[in-house]
């Protein structure tokens, strides 16, 4: 694998989620959901999903559907991988498990915190939580893996 193929970003540039979010949260599914950049660290990224009436799910009563929560966590954990790696390599979600602790409170913005806790050359291992104000009382926990489809993470 050549270096040209491994590094989609200009040489010497590290992936920056705060800059990338400007593009990634404006188009496609993330744009439609209204995802916003919230914060990041060395191996984690937080995105925000503002509550919206048309994202309400099965039991009505203003509770967000779980689909938007999965999308929020897919995007936040995906960005945490590039953030830890520094390389913006194409990758695909292999699997994702979401445990729903409780329903999100109607009207509240949901924060998705994705963390990449291990990178190999090809596989990244992620986990995260979604909360609606208090990180100690999460709405959901997630765990999953991504695979670099072209090039490698390290």
């Amino acid at each position: 694998m050549s270096d040209e193929k491994r590094h989609v970003l200009p040489p010497g540039t590290r992936f920056d989620p705060s800059l990338a979010s400007r593009v990634m949260t404006r188009h496609g599914h993330g744009g439609w959901l209204g995802l916003q950049y919230h914060a990041h660290g060395e191996d984690w990224v937080e995105l925000a999903l503002p509550w919206r009436e048309d994202l309400v799910g099965i039991d009505g009563a203003g509770v967000l559907a779980s689909g938007p929560i999965i999308s929020l966590m897919d995007n936040a954990t995906s960005m945490s991988v590039w953030t830890k790696s520094g390389n913006f390599v194409p990758h695909a979600t292999l699997d994702l498990r979401v445990d729903y602790m409780r329903a999100a409170k109607p009207g509240n913005t949901v924060i998705g915190r994705g963390e990449c806790y291990k990178l190999t050359r090809t596989i990244s291992f992620i986990r995260g939580i979604a909360h609606d104000g208090d990180p100690a009382d999460p709405v959901a926990h997630v765990i999953g893996t991504f695979m670099a489809t072209h090039g490698s993470y390290r």
Binding site: D59, A65, G67, D95, L96, Y100
Partner: protein, 134 residues
Amino acid sequence: MSAQQPLPPYAEALGIVIDHDEAGEPVLRVEFSPRVQGRPGFLHGGAMSGLMEMAAFAALRAELAARGEASMQLKPVNIQVEFMRGGTEQVTYAKGTVTRAGRRVALVNAEAWQDDRTKPIALAQIKVLLIPAE
């Protein structure tokens, strides 16, 4: 006759519709649009999961209605999704299959596919708590 119930606002907003009924189990469909697009040219994994989840709930609703428990409240416990192929810019279908619906909990499998049903793009397994209406 079909036991179909209207899909929730999220499904409607994303463009998810009931395509047809297969032996009492609804097949759902979503057209490709920017609303469901992830990386350029591909379906977003979250949209795929959302579609499968809606298919799973629709199948479970139909099964519960058939045994006279249409008013049961459904509460998702967890979902496990396996992504097997990238979804491309075309129509995506999903269908749920109720594996086991007991009195308190149900296990539903769901599958998503595009032009070739024998090559699913994703699988999901969803556990749902069943809460009798007051």
